[in-house]
Symmetry: none
Amino acid sequence: MNLDSLYSNLTVKTKAKLVLVVLDGLGDLATKEQHFLTPLEAAKTPNLDALAKISAQGRMIPVAPGITPGSGPGHLGLFGYDPLEFQVGRGVIEALGLGLELKAGDVAARANFCTLDKKGIVTDRRAGRIETSVTEKLCALLSSKIKKIGDTQVIIKPGKGHRFVVIFRGKGLEGPLTDSDPNREGVAIPQSKPVNPKSAKQKKAAKLIADFYKAALPVIAKELPANGFLLRGIAHQPHIPIFEERYALKPACLAVYPMYKGLAQLVGMIKIEGPQTIAEQFERYIAEYDNYDYFFIHYKYTDMYGEDGNFEAKKKAIEEFDAALPILLKKRPDVLAITGDHSTPCAAKGHSWHPQPVLLNSALSGSDKLERFTETGANIGSLGIFESKYLIRLMQANARMFDKFGA
Amino acid sequence: MNLDSLYSNLTVKTKAKLVLVVLDGLGDLATKEQHFLTPLEAAKTPNLDALAKISAQGRMIPVAPGITPGSGPGHLGLFGYDPLEFQVGRGVIEALGLGLELKAGDVAARANFCTLDKKGIVTDRRAGRIETSVTEKLCALLSSKIKKIGDTQVIIKPGKGHRFVVIFRGKGLEGPLTDSDPNREGVAIPQSKPVNPKSAKQKKAAKLIADFYKAALPVIAKELPANGFLLRGIAHQPHIPIFEERYALKPACLAVYPMYKGLAQLVGMIKIEGPQTIAEQFERYIAEYDNYDYFFIHYKYTDMYGEDGNFEAKKKAIEEFDAALPILLKKRPDVLAITGDHSTPCAAKGHSWHPQPVLLNSALSGSDKLERFTETGANIGSLGIFESKYLIRLMQANARMFDKFGA
C-alpha cells in the first residue's frame, strides 16, 4: 500500500494547532576552531533549553544520504512532499523568489544578460556583471516591446545584478527544456530543446522560446555589454497535491523572504504578509491563532550567516530567535516543531547534507531528558535519524490526527 | 527518480583523495565474559582515539536488519552497490578467492569431492575431508583429461581440503543453476537445472554441466574416497557498473587475500600487489597517493580471530592496526572512512548481522566529541545507523563531489 494513501486514510480532522518553525540552515558542525561547539551549542538559549527538557529530539535527512538540498527540496521535505518525487525547476524557484505568482501551466526560466560578439558568439556569460538598475531598465524595455508571442503571454521580471526571470503563460506548454546557456564562452547560444522529445507540449515550449529569442535579441542588439541573454532551468510549475487536502490542516505561511513565501504558495499555503522580524512573526501567529491549523514560520538569518561562514553572527541569530520564542509560547501550539530545512555549516560556507537537528514538543512528545536542543543532543534523541518528509506525519500523529492502523 | 541516477547527475570530479579502510569483521559484542567490553573497546588505540575526537561516527547495516552477509555482499555494500541488487554467486566468489580472473560470460561453480557407492549414491559429501594435496592431485588429473566440453573451455582449480572450483568459459552461457549437491547423503547426485527454465543460456549451461559429469566421473572412478564431486553456487559473473564511471573516482585495491582482491576486481578496481602487512599497505598508499583517487585498504585479521572466537587475538590485531595508522596519516586523505564489512563477534565465532561501527573523517565531517572509536560510541554518533551502501555517497559528499540538488 502506498504510504501517502495510508496516512490519508487514517487522517482525522482535529482542532489541534501545529507550528513548524524553520531556522533556515540551522544544522552545523563542531570543529576544533570553534572549540568543538556548533553555533547552536555556543549560543545562550534559555528558552530553547526549557523547551528541550520536555521535548523529543532527532535529526533529519533532507533528501538522501550525502545530498545537499537547495531551499526548494529542503522545504518541500518539511511540508511532507518527497523532494525526489516533487521536483521544482530552478526557473520556478527563481520566479517564486522574485515574488511572482505562478499559474498552473506556466513555464518559467532563469535568465541572465550576456555579451555577444558580431557573429553571435557569447563572449561574457554575465554581461560584465551589469548592475541591477541596468537589468531593470533592459527588462522594462523588453517588456514594453514583447507582451505576447503568438497567443502566449510573456512576463519579464528583473532580479539582482544581471539576472532576470521570464515566464511564458499560455496553453499547452510544459517543461523541462534544456538550457540555452552554453555554460562557457566562445560559442553561440544553443537552442533550448525538449528534455523529452516525445512531448508535444515541450516541443511547443521550445518553439516558443526560439521565437522569443527572434523577437527579443533585436530589441537589445545595441545595449552592449548586455546585447544577449541566456535561459536556464526552464520548467513548469509541477503538480503538487494541495496541503490542506493532503493533511486536513488549513495552513498559513509567516515568512519574510519571497522565496519561502513562494514555496509555501506552491503547496497552497496562505501567505500572511506584514511581519518583518521573528518577534513580529510570532506576534502575528498569536493574532491569527484561530484562523489556521498549521503555521509555517520561517527565519532566514541562520542560513545567511552560515553561508558567510560567520560563526558569531549565526550564534547571535539563534540567540535573537531564542529571545523572541516566549512570544510564540504565550499561546503554545498543540504541536511545535523547531528545525532547519538543511544544515548550513559555517565551515562549509553553504548548504550541506548533514542531517539537521529537530525538536518536537507536544503533550505526547515525551521528554528525551536532554538539557538543551543541540546537534549532539539530537543524535541521541528518541526520534532518531529520519527523512524530513516524515516530520509532518510525526506532527500529525502528535496532534492525534491518525486513527489506529488495523485492529 | 532513481537515487543512483540522482547521485550520478550531481557528481563532479574533484582532486580529493578518499580512503576506505576495512577492518574485516570489526564489529563485536560486549559480553559479561569480557567485562562488557568489545575487542575494539578493550584495545589500546591511541591513534584511533586521536582521530575519533575530530571525526563523525555511526553504525552500518550491511544488507538488511538481521541479515548476516558473506564477504561478497559485505564488500559490495561498502563499494556502494546494493547487495540485494548486485548478487554475486558463490561460485564466482570462490573463484575470485582462489585468485582466478573471471571473464565476462564465465560460469563458475564451487565444487567439492565426495564419495559415491557402486550405485552412485552419495555416501560422504566431503570425501572424508581429504587433504589439500589430494585435491590438488585430482584436479591436475581432471585438468589433464578434460580441457574442453564441446567448444567450452573448462578450468579446474583446487582450493583448501576437499574444495575446488570449476569455471566454464564459452559462448552463450549464463547462471544461476540449481546445485548438483543433494545437501544430504544417501541419494544420488541431482542434475543441475536452470533456475529460470525459459533461459536458453541457462539451459545450455545445464547441458554442459551434465556433459562435464559424463566426462569427469570416469576419470576419478577409482580414486576412492574421492570418486565423485558436487557443484554448488553455479553462477556467472554479474554485470556490475564500473566503479570509476559510477563514482568519478579512480580506484585502487590494497588487499593481501585473494578474495578481497577479487571483489575489488569485480567492480573494476586496480589491484596493487606486493604489500603483506598493514604497515606495508599504508606505505604503499603513500607511494601511490598521486596515482589514484580512492584506495580500498583491507585488513583481514580482525575477522579471522573473530571467527576463532579469540578475543585477545582480535584485540591485539586492532592494536597492531592502530600502531600502523600513523603511516597512513602522514599523508592524510581528504576523506577517510574506517569500518568493517560486517561484524564478526567473538561470541558468535562467525559473521553476524550486528551493524558495524564506522568512523568518518574529513574537513566537513565535524566532530561527534567522542573520545574513542567504539561500538558504543558509534551508537550515538551523528551518522546514525544507515545502510553500508550509502557510505561511499557520504564519502563523496565529504569530498564535495556533489552539486546542490535543486535551487
